[in-house]
Amino acid sequence: MKIEIVSEKTDAGYLLKLKGDVDMSSSPEVRSALGEAFRQGKGARALFVDLSQVRYMDSSGIATLVEAMQTCMKQGARLRLIDLSPAVRDVFEMARLSSVFDIFASVSDAAKGL
């Protein structure tokens, strides 16, 4: 399996931890997990996505996160990304999306101010 996804409920909202590569073959699985987190965590203030163990993310992975952000905005929640690796950060930079997402060093940092 290219991607492992662990979902946890926290006080501030759902936390999805991704491990592996998010590419065109695995991003639909991430999309399903995000959809499930939205259903389960309806009314939560935030959705956290921990990317610390993602070594590679292609543009379909980023598009999946953009779509998650669209959903969060509709639901009045925040999408917060945790700990991007340099390789993933470069892809965000090239897509000029670093400033679009809220990116934090840790889950505890991300939960502040919610």
């Binding site: 065109m24 991003s27 639909p28 379909s60 598009a63 779509e67 470069d90 090239m94 897509a95 000029r96």
Partner: protein
């Protein structure tokens, strides 16, 4: 690493590729320069699998691509993108449809995801506001940028550029050159650029290969090429019309051709 070994291709009696060998590193920018008729376009066609050489080999990593045909080339083609000299956009499709076409053809991604990806690709080339226009409504430079966005649609490891700046004004040409450098620097995309544009190559290439009459005339870093003592190389990089490279491509003697035929 992309390794080309002793490639040979004849058109009739003309040796277009006459024992071409060199290697290109992954995640680097290689410019292949040469005179018109020097073998650049033929080499490019062979590298993308569109033309079979008469002899020789091409390897991409551990993939031998020389003799692959039809669908056997799919694993290789999924890893590469190609920016054609004239863009090759489909005129009946909008900019967004052109860019999204390879994603829709090769993946089963949801349409909303494809739309977001298309926006991202167009943002990379600075044309996000042009999604709904048709190619004919764009300038030549813009069409080339859309074509680049389409070449990037499937996140290729390697992009081939065929004369990416030809026919563009100097500012637009610089924009394309900067885009190539950024794609390489930020995304680690291997860029192989076939071009006449010496200065562009000198500015961003990690390696330059000069083809002349179907052979590798010189190869090295821009600094090494600039310092070359070979008069052919010097004439090529300075564009001097007087020198060992003749502008006459005909090999037959003129008098003989006129009088005897």
């Amino acid at each position: 690493m992309i390794v080309i070994e002793d490639l040979r291709k004849n058109y009739g009696d003309r040796k277009v590729l006459d024992g071409v060998s060199f290697a290109m590193e992954r995640r680097k920018i290689t410019h292949i320069l040469g005179t018109s008729g020097g073998g650049k376009s033929t080499l490019l066609k062979v590298m993308i699998g569109a033309l079979k050489p008469d002899a020789g080999r091409i390897r991409y990593g551990d993939m031998e691509i020389t003799n692959l045909q039809g669908r056997q080339l799919d694993p290789y083609r999924k890893k590469i993108g190609m920016l054609f000299q004239h863009g090759a956009l489909i005129n009946s499709l909008t900019v967004a449809e052109n860019v999204g076409l390879p994603i829709r053809e090769h993946t089963g991604l949801d349409d909303n995801i494809v739309k977001i990806m298309v926006k991202m690709k167009l943002e990379m080339v600075g044309l996000r506001d042009f999604e709904e226009l048709y190619p004919a409504q764009l300038s030549g430079g813009m069409q080339k940028r859309v074509a680049l966005a389409r070449a990037l649609a499937l996140d290729p490891e390697l992009v081939y550029f065929d004369e990416p700046t030809s026919g563009l004004d100097p500012i637009v040409a610089s924009v394309i050159t900067k885009l190539i450098a950024d794609l390489n620097r930020l995304l680690g995309i291997t860029c192989i650029v076939v071009t006449h544009a010496v200065e562009e190559a000198m500015r961003i290439a990690d390696k330059i290969v000069i083809l002349y009459r179907g052979k590798v005339l010189a190869q090295g870093t821009p600094g090494e090429i600039r310092e070359s003592s070979d008069p052919l190389v010097q004439q090529f990089i300075t564009g001097n019309p007087d020198g060992p490279i003749s502008f006459r491509a005909s090999s037959k003697d003129y008098r003989e051709d006129l009088l005897i035929g």
